[in-house]
Structure formats: structure tokens, C-alpha cells
């Protein structure tokens, strides 16, 4: 048997968070291996594909026609009775502005990682961890032609919602049922949707979540739903909610599907702990998804950049201990934690609201012509008109 390979950093999962970590670690001089279990990076897509453009420069990502499907002017938020308010894209948060081809986006980020020097292997599921005295020292890989072990200074768990690596390592990554959303989306073509706006429908059409229409071109859009697991009572309910809503939309009468997308999304607070000796968790696996929007790409990329930079330093000093990785734990929390907790608390309140409440809120926001979609600004606007409705939210103000 040949000697084990050794890398400074082994990234498990080649989504955006993994590729960003790999890119910045490799750029800083670390020897990096990124392992992807699937046969192709970026597929199958599991994403609504809406992002904002504001955060791309800080992550070193340039807009590219290969993955930019469509640009929108903003978002329309629609209540159960049809009240709506609009926000322009620069104020609409992290998930509005561009609708992307996620499969191409992921490949572009992996290309950046490769150009920075990271090695990539596909069809290479990690099936276990190597340990030495409680410390994580590498991974077991089951590849096409052989099973093998790779030693790593640090293993990066970038394995998404399914997040096996963190669990194997012994970190608490379990998400409560009330903090999980079941999602289904059809890419529909031959439809009559508004190509200038991403649309969000609130209320009992999508209990504890929302329905979305993200245009990918003039005649095609991602039409999807997220429903809080807590509110799903019987088998297949998510699909029934989406299908019955689409059936009530005349503009989708002639709509035909090009793609089905489904998956689970965490809408929780982030993990309490994302590091241990020789291991780091990033992105969806670290529960960095925004609990209001369900968006995770920007947060994962921003945390991945921090992770990669810290890991490059660790590789220099050959120290991947939990103490050395604290810089990552602090770094991503400085950028993301406050917003993640605030939106998680706000989500907890929003999931208790009735259709009448949503009508009041959206109509109040329509009147004041709000152009900044922050939880704080929204609550202030509602408070002026329906102080009793904001009573339960007051601790967020």
C-alpha cells in the first residue's frame, strides 16, 4: 500500500462555500484538495437562483455572462389579498438583483479555485473521517477506481444541508423541525411573468415560508415554494401547495416545466460552534442561511473567504488547532452573526402571522413606499400604522 497523500486543507463539497474556501486557501499558499461526491459540479441545481450583486466584488467574483441569466429591477412582495409593495434591487437584501444559472455559477467558482492552485476530484464521496486523539486528521474517500485515505491539516465541511462531516466529527449540527423548510421549484417556460421583478407571495399559500417567482428570461421563471416542516402534516404536502397555487394563476396556464428542483433549507440560527481541532464548517452546513429569505450563497461565499484566508495562515504556521481556527470563528461571526440571529428571530414571529396580518403589513408598507427591505425599517413602518401588530416584534426594534 502506498503512503497516504497529505494536503494542508481538504474541502468536502464543491458548492460556492467550498470553492471560495479552496480559492482563498490555495491563493494564500496552502495545498488544497476539494472533493465533490457528484459527477459534475453545480448539478443537480438545488436553488432558487436569485442573488444580489452587491456582495460579489468583496468575494472577488465578477459578473459573467456564462452564469448571469437575467437581471431584475427589484422585488415585489404580495400579500394573500393581493396588496403589494415594491423594493428596488439595491435595497432588497442579499437575494434580489440577479437570477443566475447556478450550475454555471458553481463551475465558475470552482474554476477560480483551480486557477488559485486547488486540486479538484469528482465522484469522490467522503465516507468517513480520520482521527488521532480526538483531533480530525483527514478523510476516507470512496472514488471510482479505489477507496483511499487523505491526511489533512484541516478538513473543511462544506457539505451543505445534508452536512454529514460535522456530525461525524461530533459537532452539534442538528436543526429543529421548526427551523427546516421543505422546498420545491419548477423552472416554467411559456409563461406570462413580470421579467423585471422577483416576486414573493406570503401567507397561507406557503405556511411558514413563501412562494417565489424569479424570472430567468422574458418567458421563463423559477416558480417555487418553501414551507416550514413544522407545518407540513402529510406526505407530499409541499408539492400540493405549489401545484394548487400554480393552478390558480392564469398566467401560468400554458406554462411547461423545464426542470424540477427540490431540497431542504435550514432557516435557523447559525451553529454555536463551527471549529474543532483539524475541522471547520462553512456555508449551509454551518447553518449560515438567512432565515427570512432562505438565501445562502452570499453568506457562504463571504464565510468561505474568511475560512480560506485563515486556513492559508494556518498552513504557514502548520497549526490547524481549534485555537488557531478561532480566527475563522470570530471572523465570520463578525460579518454575519448579528444579521443571522436577527432574521431568525424575525422568522419565528413571521411564521405565527395570519393572512389578515400579512395583508395589514404589506398594505402598510405599500403606503409608506418603503425602499429599504431591512427588518428594522419594515417594523418601523408597520408600527406607525398597526402598533398592536408590532407589539410581538418590539424586542427586534
Amino acid at each position: 500500500m502506498s503512503a497516504r497523500e497529505r494536503f494542508d486543507v481538504v474541502v468536502v463539497g464543491a458548492g460556492p462555500s467550498g470553492s471560495m474556501t479552496a480559492k482563498f486557501a490555495a491563493r494564500g499558499g496552502a495545498r488544497v484538495l476539494m472533493l465533490e461526491k457528484r459527477q459534475e459540479i453545480g448539478t443537480p441545481v438545488r436553488c432558487g437562483e436569485g442573488i444580489s450583486k452587491a456582495w460579489l466584488p468583496e468575494c472577488g467574483i465578477t459578473l459573467d455572462k456564462r452564469w448571469l441569466a437575467h437581471e431584475v429591477k427589484g422585488a415585489r412582495v404580495i400579500s394573500p389579498s393581493g396588496y403589494e409593495f415594491k423594493v428596488s434591487e439595491e435595497h432588497a437584501g442579499n437575494e434580489v438583483g440577479a437570477v443566475i444559472e447556478r450550475d454555471e455559477f458553481d463551475k465558475a467558482l470552482a474554476t477560480d479555485a483551480a486557477k488559485a492552485g486547488a486540486e479538484i476530484r469528482l465522484k469522490s464521496p467522503v465516507v468517513g473521517l480520520l482521527r488521532d486523539n480526538g483531533k480530525i486528521t483527514g478523510v476516507k474517500v470512496k472514488a471510482l477506481d479505489r477507496s483511499y485515505e487523505v491526511e489533512a491539516g484541516c478538513v473543511v465541511a462544506a457539505d451543505g444541508f445534508e452536512s454529514q462531516v460535522g456530525r461525524w466529527a461530533g459537532l452539534d449540527t442538528i436543526v429543529a423541525a421548526r427551523d427546516i423548510t421543505s422546498c420545491l421549484q419548477y423552472r416554467l417556460t411559456n409563461i406570462d411573468a413580470d421579467p423585471d421583478y422577483c416576486e414573493f407571495y406570503l401567507g397561507s399559500c406557503a405556511p411558514g415560508g413563501y412562494l417565489w417567482i424569479f424570472p430567468k428570461s422574458d418567458d421563463t421563471a423559477n416558480v417555487g415554494i418553501g414551507v416550514q416542516l413544522y407545518k407540513l402534516k402529510q406526505k407530499g404536502a409541499t408539492k400540493q401547495y405549489l401545484d394548487s397555487w400554480i393552478a390558480r394563476q392564469p398566467r401560468f396556464n400554458k406554462g411547461r416545466p423545464l426542470e424540477y428542483v427540490c431540497g431542504g433549507v435550514s432557516v435557523s440560527a447559525p451553529l454555536e460552534k463551527t471549529i474543532m481541532d483539524g475541522l471547520l464548517i462553512v456555508g449551509d452546513a454551518a447553518r449560515m442561511i438567512d432565515a427570512i429569505t432562505g438565501g445562502g450563497i452570499s453568506n457562504g461565499c463571504r464565510a468561505g473567504k474568511v475560512a480560506g484566508q485563515v486556513l492559508a495562515e494556518c498552513a504557514q504556521s502548520k497549526d490547524f488547532s481549534e485555537a488557531a481556527l478561532q480566527k475563522y470563528e470570530r471572523g465570520w461571526r463578525d460579518i454575519l452573526e448579528e444579521g443571522l440571529y436577527r432574521d431568525w428571530l424575525a422568522k419565528e414571529k413571521l411564521t405565527t402571522l395570519s393572512d389578515e396580518d400579512f395583508d395589514k403589513i404589506v398594505s402598510a408598507l405599500a403606503e409608506v413606499n418603503i425602499d429599504k427591505l431591512s427588518v428594522h425599517a419594515i417594523l418601523q413602518a408597520i408600527q406607525r400604522k398597526y402598533p398592536e401588530l408590532v407589539k410581538t416584534f418590539e424586542d427586534l426594534l
Binding site: K37, P44, I180, C183, L184, K235, K239
Partner: protein, 58 residues
């Protein structure tokens, strides 16, 4: 004697992993297109509810 866990309809499964990330005891294994249960399943049925397309049942 068969193990007790939800039953998968392989024709409906889209291999999205929603059940895998939801499962509290980590009893579901998914590798691309193969989904399987191990003996840690407690029949909490969260996977049946979370499956967006109704591929899991009792």
C-alpha cells in the same frame, strides 16, 4: 425480520437530500442516487413530511 424505517418510492425520489439533513439520528444515507436507511431510524417520520415530492411513506 425487516428493519423498521420509512419506505422509499425510488421512482419519485429526486435525491435532493432534504430527508438526510432533516433526520435527527442521522439514519439516512444518500450518495448521488442511492438513498438508504440504517438501523438508527426511530420512525419519527420527519423525513416523510419534509420530502418535497412525497417519495417517502410508511
Amino acid at each position: 425480520m425487516g428493519k423498521r424505517h420509512p419506505v422509499l418510492d425510488v421512482d419519485k425520489c429526486m435525491h435532493c437530500g432534504a430527508c438526510v439533513g432533516t433526520c435527527p439520528p442521522n439514519a439516512i444515507y444518500l450518495n448521488e442516487v442511492i438513498l438508504d436507511f440504517n438501523d438508527k431510524c426511530t420512525m419519527c417520520k420527519l423525513c416523510i413530511r419534509v420530502c418535497p415530492v412525497g417519495a417517502l411513506g410508511e
